[in-house]
Every structure is written in C-alpha cells, then in structure tokens.
C-alpha cells in the first residue's frame, strides 16, 4: 500500500476530549470524561409504532448497523434505557402510554422523535393522531422524513451523542430543567 493510503484508514476509536496530556498521563475535566462515556454507550428504547419502526429494523440491520455508535443493546423496558426513540405515529390513545414510559426512564434521558408523524403528526392531521409527541414529553432531537432514511436516523443519533457528550453534570438539577418538567407537569 502506498504511503498516503496508510493514513486514510483512520482507526474508528472515539476521539479523546481535549485535555492536558504529558509523559504517560492525560488529564481532562471530569465532566468531559463522563460525557465521553455516556456518549458512546446510549441504550435506545425503540418505541417503534409504525412504518418508521420497520426503517429502524433496517438501521439496526447489518447494512447500516446502529451498533457502530455504541447503541447495540436495545432495551424494551424503560428502566435500563437512556434514549427514547419514538418512531412512527402516536395516536391520542397512545399518549398516556408514551408519557408513562418516558417518566419511568432513568435519568439522564434523551428523546428522539423519528419521522414526521412523531415530530408533528406528519401527513395525518386527523382527530385521532397526537400532533407531535412534544405535546406530551420533552423532545431533544427531531428527525424529519417519512420514513427517514437509516442514515438520517443515525444522524439524529449522532446529534444526541453530541448533546450527551458535552452536557454539564448539573444540567438535570438546573432551574431551566425544572421549569421544563413543570411545563409538562411531571414532578
């Protein structure tokens, strides 16, 4: 292999956060270290209701492989999940169920609304569909598309990874977060 080809193959290891590194040691702020750990080990809860759920199966498949981003382990119970991926239409009958699942998730938790139906009710502006899940739970990232291509879902996950990576440890106790919870009247 010629010389320049060697450098192109970059090892797919998560880059280290910026910090002071010297002879045999590396120091960084504690927050960044925790962020790095959280970022690369998000356990998704696939709240797959309709067509976006099948597209998520393709994303989990070998071709697009969500496992490359550390979200290999799907957990269907909210107790062991950090990331709620709401995929597909959420009807008004499903609203309380979605809220219950969100409340019972362990902190820190993030939410992706995958697809137009989850983000804003999509093409179904009807009496029976919840017009966007942010009426019931706070959402961090909205992924457009109906259904979004697997690359878009992975892009949404990478946005969440950035959020999780540089989130301050005190965010969940901060006043804005408390107001957000009050707005959705979750205590």
């Amino acid at each position: 292999m010629s010389e320049n080809q060697k450098q192109i193959v970059k090892p797919t290891v998560a880059e280290a956060p910026e910090g002071v590194s010297g002879q045999g040691f590396f120091a960084t702020s504690f927050e960044k270290a925790v962020g790095l750990a959280r970022k690369n080990s998000l356990w998704p809860l696939p709240f797959a209701t309709s067509c976006c759920g099948i597209e998520f199966m393709a994303t989990m498949g070998a071709h697009y492989d969500l496992a490359r981003f550390g979200s290999e382990r799907l957990s269907f119970s909210p107790r062991q999940s950090d990331l709620l991926m709401v995929m597909g239409t959420v009807a008004k009958k499903m609203g309380p169920v979605l809220r219950e699942v969100y409340i019972q998730m362990a902190e820190p938790k993030w939410v992706i609304a995958v697809g137009a139906c989850a983000s804003s009710g999509g093409i179904f502006d009807t009496y029976s569909v919840l017009q966007g899940i942010d009426r019931v739970i706070p959402v961090d990232v909205y992924v457009p598309g109906c259904p979004p291509r697997p690359e878009q879902i992975i892009d949404g996950l990478m946005k969440i990874q950035e959020l999780a990576g540089n989130e301050s440890l005190r965010r969940r106790h901060s006043k804005e977060y408390e107001d957000l919870m009050k707005k959705y009247n979750m205590e």
Binding site: V34, S77, P78, R79, P96, V97, L98, E100, V101, I103, Q104, E107, P108, L169, R171, R172, H173, M181, M186, E187
Partner: protein, 120 residues
Amino acid sequence: MPQDYIPVLIQTFVVLGFVITTMILTHFLGPKRSSSAKLENFECGIEGMGNARSPFSVKYFLIAILFVLFDVEVIFMYPWAVNFKEMGKEGFLDMFLFMILLLAGFIYVILKGALKWDKR
C-alpha cells in the same frame, strides 16, 4: 506464613473497594428524579393490573433448584479439569463416582416427572 497472604488481602481490598466506591459514587454523580409515577412497576405503559404476589405452582421453584444443583456440579468439574493430568487415574475414578451419583439423581428426577413442563 501469614505474611505470604498480604498480596491476597490487598487484592480483595482493591476489588471490594472498587465495587463499593463505584456503586456509591454513581448515586452521588448521576442525576436522580424519583416521583410516585416513576416508582410504580412498569406494565408496558399501562397502570398495573392484578398484583404480582399471587401464588403460583411449585414446579417453577423445582426447576430452579434442579438447575442450581446441576450447575454446582459443573463448578466442581473446573478444578478437576485444570489439573486433570496430575490427578491421574484415581482422580478420574473419584470424579467418575461423583458424576454417577448425580446422574442417578438426574434419572430419578426425570422418572418422577419433575421436568414434565407442559402438564397442566
């Protein structure tokens, strides 16, 4: 000589220390938000119906105990497998006797029908 056990002590101290500190540390570090709705048991998003404390048949407990029993038997085989060569023939015979006894127990369990699972 008691001094020779210092490394073992240090090892157990480090292991226990690591386990206990990480468990305690995560409680202080991780954000916690406990609410009444959160503490209910999770029933696929619906508020729970029926209680989990209802009686159920004994054969589940039976299966669990049988599993533990034969699992412990396998654990005994590890040291035997490690120094299989040094123990030579009589080691093999002792282990053989141990396994025959447990096999007799296993056959008894089958004939007693304890493993018959799909009987109402």
